[in-house]
Amino acid sequence: MRVSRMFYLYRRLYVQQLKAILEYNKDFYILMCSAALTQVLGFVFLWVIYDRIPDINGWQFWEVTFMYAMIFVTEGVGSLFFEGTWRMGRLVNMGEMDRYLLRPVPVVLQVFCTGIGINGLGNLLIGGVIIWQSLVHGHIHWTLGKISIILLLLLTAVIIRVSINLAANSAAFWIKNAGNAFPLMVHNLADLAKYPLTLFPQAIRVFVSTVLPYAFISFYPATYVFGKSEWSGWWMLAPVAALGSAAAAYGIFRFGLSRYESTGN
């Protein structure tokens, strides 16, 4: 299937979902505000701490807020455009995946469009403001190259985040249990990447750089953006991590799908 056709189908499926959620508009606002509030309060937490001390292990306030916001922004993109991954447990347990398998449209595309998490809009908004402020306060020497690399790192961050979501939620093919405790746990592990990696012991550093490469969403981009010389060059691994996690996630998803038994009623 051609890429342009994929985008066309994605847009059509997405718009249908959008109509559905606009039906319940009270929820729409509550979700958006709650996501924004959660993030603002996390920001207040950092602000309260930095009010007392000048730096943590050599990391300044705006450097840490950048990492923090990167985790939230990618989460926002994930829920706004790829929320369907979180519905996979339901799709598998209720046997609703049958419908998707019959259509001549890639299954993974249909899974992505199974829902929209409007809370993502709140995350994007507040996270965007925090990132922008971090960049303004970060004393950065701007060049065209730097801007394009930052954009590339944003893209790879989103790819990594969505891939991890897809892979973790594919657990639904194996764990026959309603509820998504396992993907939620994987999701929570992103907490380890909200703060500078140097705070953590070696084992955790390796874990969030390889098995679940959350550090390539927040920490390594931050080392590049703020020019931390002892980490120079590490950001170049981000595209590798993105490609690797995307391929692994798709592989896990396909493998899970081959085990799909279509139980349900």
């Binding site: 709650s34 937490f45 701490i49 007392r52 292990n57 405790a181 380890l192 703060y195 953590f200």
Partner: protein, 268 residues
């Protein structure tokens, strides 16, 4: 309340305790997820304290203790009880509860208490194991402090239930619970002292937090366990918990009476 009445609610509490046992995998995974969070926060604080003897009036040893007590106080009232109340309202099964000769609020409180007993007990055991690996945890020496601490944990459950219940009743007016739950968690975490001790706040925010009920949930138990308050002061804080618990209970009752008239039942 007569003996029969109490028996009724005790069996509800028992049922919810067994429910936790039956769904133990999701409980364990949930607990692990919280532990990850604790780990992240622990190392963040370790970084904050590196090269500093004290921050905001807390030494590193006291802060370690603070984090563990916060974790315990947070895990005695779980995500499970949070979503089960709003779930009942959203899927319409509250209609069945309206027909039962049982007080809705008391029944939900019994459920919460039943689950809390088990979850709190398990968390306590795991925390003691975890704490034995850490050095420098400041434990109180007198037995009396432990008694006060246990009392304050009970008070914390009562107040937290009040907050959770009120938030859950809001679902009568909305069609989803996630937004309300997230907001509730975010506000409670900040104003109860679960993120940072209230002493870290700027003056105005600290004063505001102390005026609100949230501080009873985390601030009070930690203050008592860290012995930052005298006996009289501790008893006063526990009295304050009782006040908030009762006030929120009455507010919940009032809101319920008003909300059931709004009920729309979908489904079938």
């Amino acid at each position: 309340m007569s003996a029969i009445q109490i028996k009724k609610y005790r069996s509800i509490a028992n049922r919810s305790l067994q429910n936790v046992l039956a769904y133990r995998t999701s409980y364990v995974i949930n607990f692990l997820a919280n532990a990850v969070n604790l780990l992240a926060i622990y190392f963040l604080w370790q970084g904050i304290y590196s090269g500093r003897a004290e921050v905001g009036g807390y030494s590193w040893d006291q802060m370690k203790t603070y984090l563990l007590v916060t974790f315990l106080a947070n895990s005695v009232l779980s995500w499970y009880s949070e979503t089960s109340i709003s779930g009942k309202i959203l899927d319409g099964s509250v209609a069945v509860d309206l027909l039962k000769p049982i007080d809705f609020q008391t029944a939900r409180f019994s459920e919460t208490l039943g689950a809390s007993l088990l979850e709190g007990g398990m968390s306590a055991i795991l925390l003691i194991l975890f704490a034995s690996f850490l050095s420098g945890i400041t434990l109180p020496h007198s037995l009396f402090v432990y008694v006060l601490f246990a009392l304050s944990l009970l008070g914390a459950i009562l107040v937290k239930f009040g907050v959770v219940y009120l938030a859950a009743l809001l679902c009568f007016w909305s069609t989803g619970s996630m937004g309300i739950v997230w907001t509730r968690i975010a506000v409670t975490n900040l104003l109860s002292g679960a993120l940072v001790p209230l002493a870290f706040f700027p003056d105005w925010l600290e004063r505001l937090a102390l005026w609100l009920p949230f501080q009873s949930i985390i601030h009070t138990p930690t203050m008592i366990f860290l012995q930052q308050t005298g006996t009289m002061e501790s008893l006063k804080l526990i009295g304050l918990q009782a006040f908030w618990g009762i006030a929120l209970w009455i507010a919940g009752k009032g809101m319920w009476n008003w909300a059931v008239r709004q009920v729309t039942i979908h489904g079938g």
